[in-house]
């Protein structure tokens, strides 16, 4: 299978789906770039190049550079979705949700319920998330716990190029509003990606690695650190399962509980802030539903309760890493009931 970058995988997904379905449109700030200017068109293809080439392939009616008004264009995407299109709207950084959150959580997410089941809103909102690019407090957040909290939204966080493509195709074909979050630091990571279209279903966790001593649950970029930690630990004789839920809403509770029960020890890695975060969420599900099988405290490895700092050394300390994960697993393994 061909090796492709995470970015290219996403780009292929968009190409496939736009070709397949004329109702799919892409809109956002500089998703093409160069609109109205003297030089090259499609100059950016999105701030991270993910939508590059779509303008040429599908034209300016279906690939739209928007004004910098996220409420207007995300809300328009929601309205378009409710009336027959399948829009893929890009919010450059998920940190910008604050200027358009109403259209996401009170409108798109609730249409179907409020209207007694009559609305169908096949909307995808793509956004980058995550720290690690020295972009500081307002361009580095994770924020998926906020979306996961909201009934009516689906939330997708791919960790590999393969999943990125399959999950994005699924998101576009899905009939509910989907928040699709891309870790900026992963764009250049490479992996096997089939050329054709395929879907990765929502709500099915990926068992990245199996081991009987502990289960490490991780999302997005954290999956890579979890795997790294698992390798370090394997060398010490501690064998870990690494589980990537891939979607936080729906969440694959069954696999999660199964792995928690099999290993009896769980460490959850979450790049988000800790309070009401994903680690908390997953922990609480296990503490309620797999309690009897637990041999140790459920450990959380998360960012601290602080904004994301700018200085490289502080930012590095902010982001969970393999060392902290391995320490947490060791602590869980060493735990003895007093």
């Amino acid at each position: 299978m061909a090796q492709k970058s995470f970015r290219q995988a996403l780009n292929e997904a968009l190409h496939h789906e736009m070709r397949r379905d004329p109702n799919v449109i892409v809109l956002g700030e500089d998703v093409a770039g160069g609109s109205g200017a003297s030089g090259q068109k499609d100059a950016w293809g999105g701030a991270f190049g993910v939508t590059k080439g779509l303008l040429g392939a599908f034209g300016p009616s279906r690939v739209r550079d928007t004004p910098i008004t996220e409420s207007a264009f995300v809300g328009a995407a929601a309205g378009a979705a409710m009336t027959g299109l399948r829009p893929v709207a890009e919010i450059m950084f998920v940190d910008f949700l604050g200027v358009c959150f109403d259209q996401i959580f009170n409108q798109a997410a609730k249409f179907r319920y409020m209207f007694g089941g009559k609305a169908v809103t096949p909307l995808v909102i793509r956004a980058t998330y995550g720290a690690g690019t020295r972009s500081a407090s307002q361009h580095s957040q994770a924020l998926y716990p906020i979306f996961t909290h909201v009934p009516g939204l689906k939330v997708v966080i791919p960790s590999s190029p393969y999943d990125a493509k399959g999950l994005l195709i699924q998101a576009i074909r899905d009939n509910d509003p989907v928040i699709f979050l891309e870790n900026k630091v992963l764009y250049d990571t490479v992996g096997e990606v089939p050329d054709g279209a395929y879907t990765v279903p929502f709500g099915e966790a990926h068992i990245v690695r199996e081991g009987g001593d502990a289960t490490i649950v991780a999302l997005g970029r954290m999956v890579h650190f979890a795997r790294e930690a698992a390798e370090i630990l394997a060398a010490e004789g501690i064998d870990c399962t690494v589980l990537d839920p891939r979607t936080t809403s729906p969440l694959d509770e069954d696999t999660l509980l199964e792995m928690a029960e099999e290993t009896g020890r769980v460490v959850i890695v979450d790049e988000a802030n800790p309070r009401c975060g994903m680690a908390a969420d997953i922990s609480s599900i296990i503490a309620e539903k797999a309690f009897g099988a637990l041999k140790a405290p459920i450990m959380k490895v998360t960012a601290p309760h602080t904004p994301v700092p700018y200085a490289p050394n502080l930012e590095a300390a902010y982001i969970p890493d393999a060392k902290r994960i391995a320490d947490a697993v060791r602590k869980a393994v060493a735990f003895k009931r007093s």
């Binding site: 008004t69 809300g75 259209q103 409108q107 007694g116």
Partner: protein
């Protein structure tokens, strides 16, 4: 006066819809006061000519996005009145199965994309419907309703800019009833509302919202402009608000005289009756017959809403997703 060239059927339809809204709202107010309706409603009484003057130009494939004060828009756009009443009563036969209530009445099959509990919620959604029309090459238009309060909300300003640069077939119908809740619009709305459109290069018109024919004419031009692909229009529609902000609002920030004068001098229904009878387009007897029919229809809607079953408890967790 172009509106007077409407056919008899159209005139009767317009009158019936306006009367239906008025009677619906007066009845909801009464039922609320007697405690038979749960929650809270914002009544459209007084503003009927606006909804009807605009929606008479629209077919089911045209779309509207509405406000918290949405009953009138729903009725004008063809939503089933029985279903609306049952919805407000919180019943399983409601147009949203009792899940939405007054502030979320919607019927997508009629092109009614929802009342909206969020001030400024509708304009982006209406732009989206217009985008669908534009991209699919249809000539459907959409209408975003907002109030004089909602005109200030950032979402409205953003949507107007988006509509203008994309030449979307959308109309911003600003129903200016002089108040946002208990605060006078003069206190919080800077400048002239129409100039906010003019500043963007957007077409606009200001009309007397008590005069059905004035609204109908201005809306007709806006709808035609949109259908021709010439982009959006803002309509600034001045209208009274008969009740307080919500049903139950003591409305004491307006003097009794002001309110009495408003109801006496600014009522679209007698104005319409006078116009069409003076022009001999309809007879008083015809109009009175409509009144009686409407009254009966609303009595019936309330009776059936009252006796309808509550939603099944199992429906609490359905309709969150198409599939999860």
């Amino acid at each position: 006066m172009t509106g007077l060239q409407l056919s008899r059927e159209e005139l009767l339809k317009a009158y019936r819809l306006m009367r239906m809204i008025r009677v619906f709202e007066d009845r909801v107010s009464a039922e609320m006061a007697s405690g038979d309706i749960p929650g809270n409603t914002h009544l459209y009484a007084g503003q009927e000519a606006s909804a009807v003057g605009i929606c008479l130009h629209l077919s089911e494939s045209d779309r509207i996005a509405s406000t918290h004060r949405g009953h009138g828009h729903c009725i004008a756009k063809g939503c089933d009145v029985d279903g609306m009443m049952a919805e407000i009563f919180g019943k399983d036969t409601g147009i949203c199965r009792g899940k939405g209530g007054s502030m979320h009445i919607a019927d997508l099959s009629k092109g009614m994309l929802g009342a909206n509990g969020i001030v400024g919620g509708a304009p982006p959604i209406a732009c989206g419907a217009a985008l669908t029309s534009q991209i699919l090459g249809r000539n459907d238009v959409s209408v975003a309703f907002t109030g004089d309060g909602g005109i200030n909300q950032g979402t409205t300003a953003e949507s107007m800019n988006l509509a203008q640069v994309w030449k979307l077939p959308v109309i911003f119908a600003v129903e200016d009833n002089g108040f946002g809740e208990a605060t006078a619009s003069s206190f919080v709305v800077a400048g002239e509302i129409t100039k906010r459109a003019e500043a963007l290069g957007m077409a606009f018109a200001k009309v007397d919202g008590v005069d059905f024919f004035a609204v109908h004419e201005a809306a007709g031009e806006a709808v035609e402009r949109a259908r021709r692909g010439e982009g959006p229009t803002l309509l600034h529609i001045e209208t009274p608000r008969y009740y307080g902000h919500f049903s139950g609002d003591p409305d004491n920030y307006r003097t009794a005289e002001e309110k009495a004068a408003m109801r006496r001098d600014r009522d679209c229904l007698p104005r319409f009756r006078r116009r069409v009878t003076e022009a001999k387009l309809l007879g008083l007897d015809e109009l009175d017959k409509v009144d009686a029919e409407v009254q009966a229809a609303i009595d019936q809607a309330v009776a059936s809403a009252r006796s309808a079953p509550q939603p099944a408890l199992s429906s609490l967790t359905t309709d969150v997703y198409v599939r999860y």
